[in-house]
Symmetry: C2
Subunit: 521 residues, 2 copies
């Protein structure tokens, strides 16, 4: 008779789950033991839960299929919540498996007892606790379905230890729920958007979620060419396909002032998979909505609707492109020399970015020049900080590396951001992932130095600025990487950075570059 744990793993594999990012504890030992019998499910050990959840996010973004996590009770889930928050905002499919005490143990209020459901519901579209091993087969199938969407979502399955260790009986062949289908496309929304785009007034098409890639992105390019609409993308797309030969799309700026400029003169804004744009934070005396006064907002497709099909339909309605689709021209910056700054570092990345690269971007201020410097590089994917929860970059790189073993992964992360989840480097090393990590070490929470003034809190005195300062002592990322088994070097000039980036991209396995740059002025 199979145990619940075996049924659970079989159900995951039946549902197409192929990777398990795990930080297990005692309650999960039967799951761990059952992994030996199921080679289809690759276990990947993470030394902190936030690495496991971020890796599952990265894996799901790159494959479109859910990975699972394996977390230990409420505190284990809690550690993983920030990156599950990011996954929720990215609409990434994730099957989040959380072990719990045996049911008969829960009333004893043992030290690890806590409200797992309350935690899970803050990030999950679907949460269920299984009470009987015989019901696990159905529950895991439902979890996979809920995670897969559309839209993709975090589905949390809470598995008490006794459910894992009990005989699950001989389950009948799983009555698998019918796979969910994309919602139909609204014809009214398509014709409404077409009318708006043909209005002769300023128009823009704002892409989000899956509209930022594949057939949806291609259709968006045709729509823009046919109508003259400006092509924009949400500030933090889950995964954007970009580079030479792909439709030229501007990401909305993080800073409100930049986004306001990008939207200036737009009288009709068509949303394709994106929400109506708002500022990331509030600022005194400013509204948070970015849509200009007098601009009408039209939703082409949202939520569970099929945004790709809607864009393709809209492209047909607005007719053949009058002009050629505006594609990014192949163009790379020249390799710079001399001082290493955020700007020259971006030029190095643009000059060397290989075709097919998966770029993970959590360089929140040092990354300012990266989009421009890489726009004409060979085609690549760009993954961003969808939910604003720090510590996403390095874990995403783990998941992308597991998902795409044949593609180079380039993680571009700020020093502040990297320190929330540095343990990801160890998993890069253990799994031999081909990830090149660049830490932009400006020795500060530079984004907060900008925000301190932006929110009207002044320049800050010595004590305030020390809270935003990462020097004293300076972090030595070469030593940190070595501590976790990742080869690493420091770059102090643009030439050194270029040489190290070439090396990192050329060599298999992980490599880290401590890229020392000044903070933005």
């Amino acid at each position: 008779m199979p145990t619940g744990a075996q049924i659970l793993i079989n159900g995951l594999v039946d549902g197409g789950v192929r990777a398990c990012f795990a930080n297990p504890g005692t309650s999960e030992m039967h799951f761990v033991a059952a992994l030996d019998e199921t080679p289809e499910l690759r276990p990947v050990l993470c030394l902190f839960e936030g690495v496991a959840t971020g890796a599952a996010d990265g894996y799901g973004r790159m494959t479109g299929h859910p990975a699972c996590t394996l977390l230990h009770l409420g505190p284990g889930l809690a550690g993983g919540l920030p990156n599950l928050h990011n996954a929720r905002r990215a609409a990434t499919p994730v099957v989040n498996v959380v072990g719990d005490h045996a049911l008969h143990h829960k009333r004893l209020d043992a030290p690890l007892e806590s409200d797992i459901g309350a935690l899970a519901r803050t990030v999950s579209a679907w949460t269920r606790r299984t009470y009987y091993a015989t019901e696990l087969a159905g529950d895991v199938a439902a979890a996979v379905t809920a995670a897969t969407g559309p839209p993709g979502a975090v589905a949390t399955l809470v598995v008490p230890a006794d459910v894992s260790w009990s005989d699950a009986g001989d389950p009948p062949p799983a009555a698998r729920p019918a796979p969910a289908r994309h919602g139909l496309v609204s014809v009214d929304a398509v014709t409404g958007a077409a009318a708006a785009l043909r209005s002769g007034e300023g128009t823009a098409l704002l892409l989000g979620k899956e509209a930022a890639r594949g057939a949806g992105l291609a259709a968006a390019g045709r729509i823009a060419a046919a109508t003259g609409a400006k092509l924009l993308c949400e500030t933090f797309p889950a995964r954007m396909e970009r580079g030479a030969g792909r439709p030229a799309v501007e990401r909305l700026a993080y800073l409100a002032s930049g986004a306001v400029r990008q939207l200036e003169g737009v009288r009709h804004l068509v949303l394709a998979g994106a929400a109506s744009p708002v500022t990331f934070f509030a600022y005194p005396g400013q509204g948070g909505a970015l849509v200009p006064q007098g601009c009408a907002v039209h939703t082409l497709a949202a939520g569970a609707e099929d945004v790709t099909a809607a864009l393709e339909g809209l492209a047909e309605v607005v007719g053949p492109a009058a002009t050629r689709v505006r594609e990014e021209a192949a163009a790379r910056p020249a390799l710079p020399s001399g001082e290493l700054t955020a700007e020259s570092a971006a030029a190095v990345v643009g000059a060397l970015l290989p075709e097919g690269a998966v770029v993970v971007d959590e360089a929140n201020t040092s990354g300012l020049w990266l989009p421009g410097a890489t726009a004409g590089a060979p085609p690549h994917d760009w993954l961003t900080l969808t939910g604003g929860a720090m510590g996403q970059g390095l874990p995403l790189s783990v998941g992308a590396g597991v998902a795409c073993p044949d593609r180079p992964v380039l993680a571009l992360v700020g020093d502040g951001a990297s320190m929330y989840t540095p343990q990801a480097l160890w998993t890069q090393a253990r799994e031999g992932l081909d990830v090149t990590t660049v830490v932009f070490a400006n020795r500060s929470y530079a984004i907060l130095n900008l925000e301190l003034g932006a929110v009207g809190a002044g320049a800050g005195g010595a004590r305030a600025r020390r809270l935003l300062d990462l020097s004293g002592p300076s972090l030595d990322f070469v030593a940190l990487a070595h501590g976790m088994g990742v080869p690493a070097e420091r770059a102090a000039t643009a030439e050194e950075f270029a040489a190290l980036l070439k090396r990192g991209l050329a060599e298999p396995g992980p490599f880290l570059i401590d890229c020392v740059v000044p903070p933005l002025a």
Copy 2:
């Protein structure tokens, strides 16, 4: 006119809060700026929220007064939840300050928006969101009162950005809530416990929370001497005073088999600040309660009751000690030589532990010999993993170091445990804390190798065991410490460990020892 942020900080200082463990973001910038005007509140930057919350726990355990945290919205709070879970289990006073979006921004569902209240309530005895700057003075006073208890608790105050930046008016002199008082002592409970202890049957007194220290512990010693009761302490006390000259108390074992032996023959178990003992986890075919069949359980004091006064009253009732209080005799192990093992390392610690040391213990398997080896060392405090949420040790050491600048802090942590919150080392360095950290590097989640068999999951195949194995690559804690500015060396023999521990304890500031030991057989 003061801003809300200034009122908040003033209220914290008025409430006796002297340390703020912070990982701020944009919504907290006014709080950060206001720190410049209030030198009484010491800001301590932590690079990950779990460090901030664990440090606040350590500070509160050592001072009895709350520190505050400063966390950034839901994801920032989430990262701090595991150590708040431990603080909750320790009944530590903590004022947990969480910034939120401006109220008018919340409806926009900006990327960082999430259900902060749901997260907070899983660990907090008291949670409130302030809606008006003019109400902050009252809310912060209420938060301090709620945190202070008794019993101590996590009190979470959610502060929207606009509440921080708005004029708070001229608040009237704060109508401070009357400080909470300990609950009265139940005379019935005292006389009932006295009768039980005099029954002539096997008796034991189980100490928890504040009964493990100070006047309560002293009274417990007298009670044991007068009645012959066995003196036990909960498995994971928040802070235990122990060492030569203090009453000899056995901690209940983590492994059920050990705890069962300790409780064998006990017919009356008197609880003083402790819960009725249960196993940490459930195991197939075993009940979780540890109280022997036929043993009556008597609660002397619990929750908000004054356990110290109850113990003192009980000591009076049971009369003068017929025999001398059984105090730990001053005794240290000899300094061992040769192979470095968990056992010989414990002997080194016992031989060298300085008087007044604050020991933070998160060495879950390698620490097995530590209690025995240090029982007769000069008086010291011992802080343990109250809630079972990993990653507590290093952050606790930060808080203890800030709380007790004149006492040596010794953090004894397993390699697995240390990797949940390694960023604490950076804060040790920045603040120049006199913390000596010993990482017992057995290259495995050794406790899970034990549990794999204990839960009946077998010995595990290759894939299972790899998930519990921390080699490949081995973590280099010397490099990790150097990366965060902490001097460090590796010990491979007992002599080397002794020399390094002497050095770490003698030198001011932080020092780390990578103590390579084999896992338990």
